[in-house]
């Protein structure tokens, strides 16, 4: 994360104070992030930095370790369906799998739902 942020700022040729002025993130905190002294920046700050540096937000989420390739055992299709549909409930793995199926069912066009 720190390397990515240092590189992005160098490419834009801006100072920490300029990033601070444009994003509202304090230059002291930005400095800590770039030095690796601060870890786990909140996603809402990463979104501001992504907009400022004009890079995909997801690339910063990935650099921070918040977005990762799904392992085979997690079932990529299921996780994909679930995470693109944030739910308000704590469910078991088995229950999550069934809800993921239901979400995919809801996304089907009406004709496909009737056929299946």
């Amino acid at each position: 994360m720190s390397t990515v942020l240092r590189r992005l700022r160098a490419l834009r040729g801006v100072t920490l104070r300029e990033v601070d002025a444009k994003t509202g993130i304090s230059n002291a905190y930005l400095s800590q992030l770039e030095k690796g002294g601060a870890t786990n920046p909140s996603p809402h700050l990463l979104r501001k930095l992504a907009d400022f540096y004009e890079v995909p937000y997801e690339s910063l989420l990935e650099a921070a370790g918040y977005l990762r390739p799904t392992t085979a055992s997690e079932g990529s299709g299921r996780v994909s369906a679930l995470q693109a549909a944030l739910m308000s409930a704590k469910l078991s793995d088995e229950e999550q799998a069934k809800v993921a199926e239901f979400i995919e069912f809801l996304r089907m066009p009406r004709s496909s739902r009737n056929e299946s």
């Binding site: 909140s42 996603p43 809402h44 700050l45 990463l46 979104r47 995909p56 937000y57 997801e58 989420l61 990935e62 370790g65 918040y66 977005l67 990762r68 390739p69 799904t70 997690e74 990529s76 996780v79 994909s80 995470q83 693109a84 549909a85 944030l86 739910m87 308000s88 409930a89 704590k90 469910l91 078991s92 088995e94 229950e95 999550q96 069934k98 809800v99 199926e101 239901f102 979400i103 069912f105 809801l106 996304r107 739902r113 009737n114 299946s116």
Partner: protein, 302 residues
């Protein structure tokens, strides 16, 4: 056994950004300052989402499942309060007779759809990426905060809450005014107070019993006013309550109870007034540092 107050109380660092998004939406929908908040108007104004009752789709879906799978799905369905599908921009909220709960769920799911940093490019999902569990949980906390911001109209609630003496009567009155649940009003009410006030919830355990074999209640959520958090970070609250603890009398009597209690902190102890209330599922306790002069029987501050 006690739990330090400061160890459980936290709000997401995105709090100010969430408040900005909520306020912008309230103004754009023309409902700023009007309670109860018309959440449907907010959804319409966001021009991003549809609210759908998923019930009509259930029959068709269940017909595809085996008997065993139906049981699993039904169990999940009973726990599910709502779904925000970021792919289709739809919000699924089961129709319910609990109007206040439905209002909160709609606002929560709307939060998932409108908080800009919760929008992750769909290509990443299709590519088989997933969010870490910590971020998923954070997004849920943020959506809760967004829901409270729109239902309680952001900082407008602060002025309203500070007109009241911290009691459950005040909480119930404000809940009715805002069309909100009593427990969500309690959290917001306490967080907006300018005096030393905190609230805790205790959940009955199904598996832990006291020496007399009676089920204990476990400390769950804790919130405090800004001054309380600053002053009483090391205050120790009971982690569990036996059924004969004075606070639990609210459950046994079916009414709000109150009294005084002395709690310890690093370097001393402080006397508090407590009020407890049982909502049929959980016990809620409000603590207020005992004022030198008590104005008994008043709800509105003089």
């Amino acid at each position: 056994m006690g739990t330090r107050f400061g160890s459980l109380v936290a709000r997401p660092s995105s709090e100010a950004s969430i408040a900005e998004v909520a306020e912008r939406l309230l103004r754009r929908a023309g409902v700023a300052g009007r309670v109860p908040t018309d959440v449907d108007a907010l959804i319409a104004s966001s021009q991003l989402v549809d609210v759908v009752d998923p019930a009509p789709f259930l029959e068709g879906f269940l017909a595809r499942l085996s008997a065993e799978a139906k049981d699993v799905f039904t169990s999940a369905w009973e726990k599910l309060r709502g779904i925000a599908d970021l792919r289709t921009r739809a919000i699924y909220v089961p129709a319910s007779t609990k109007v206040r709960q439905t209002l909160f769920v709609k606002a929560h799911e709307l939060g998932h759809q409108v908080l800009p940093w919760q929008q992750v490019n769909m290509a990443y999902w299709d590519d088989g990426h997933s969010l870490s569990p910590e971020v998923t949980e954070l997004f849920d906390q943020e959506a809760n905060l967004f829901a409270a911001d729109v239902i309680f109209q952001g900082k407008r609630f602060l002025h309203r809450a500070r007109q009241y003496v911290p009691t459950f009567d005040a909480v119930f009155s404000l809940a009715d005014e805002h069309g909100a649940s009593r427990h969500s009003t309690l959290w917001r009410f306490v967080e907006e107070q300018d005096e030393l006030v905190a609230a805790a919830t205790y959940w009955p355990s199904r598996y832990t019993f006291d020496r007399e074999g009676l089920p204990v209640l476990w400390l769950g959520k804790l919130v405090g006013s800004p001054r309380f958090k600053a002053r009483f970070g090391t205050l120790e609250l009971p982690s569990e309550l036996s059924p004969n603890h004075p606070w639990v009398a609210a459950r046994n009597l079916g009414s709000v109870c109150e009294g005084d209690v002395t709690l310890v902190e690093v370097g001393g102890q402080t006397q508090f007034q407590w009020h407890s209330w049982w909502n049929q599922y959980s016990l809620f306790v409000m603590l207020r540092r005992k004022p030198r002069l008590s104005l008994v029987g008043r709800i509105i501050k003089p």
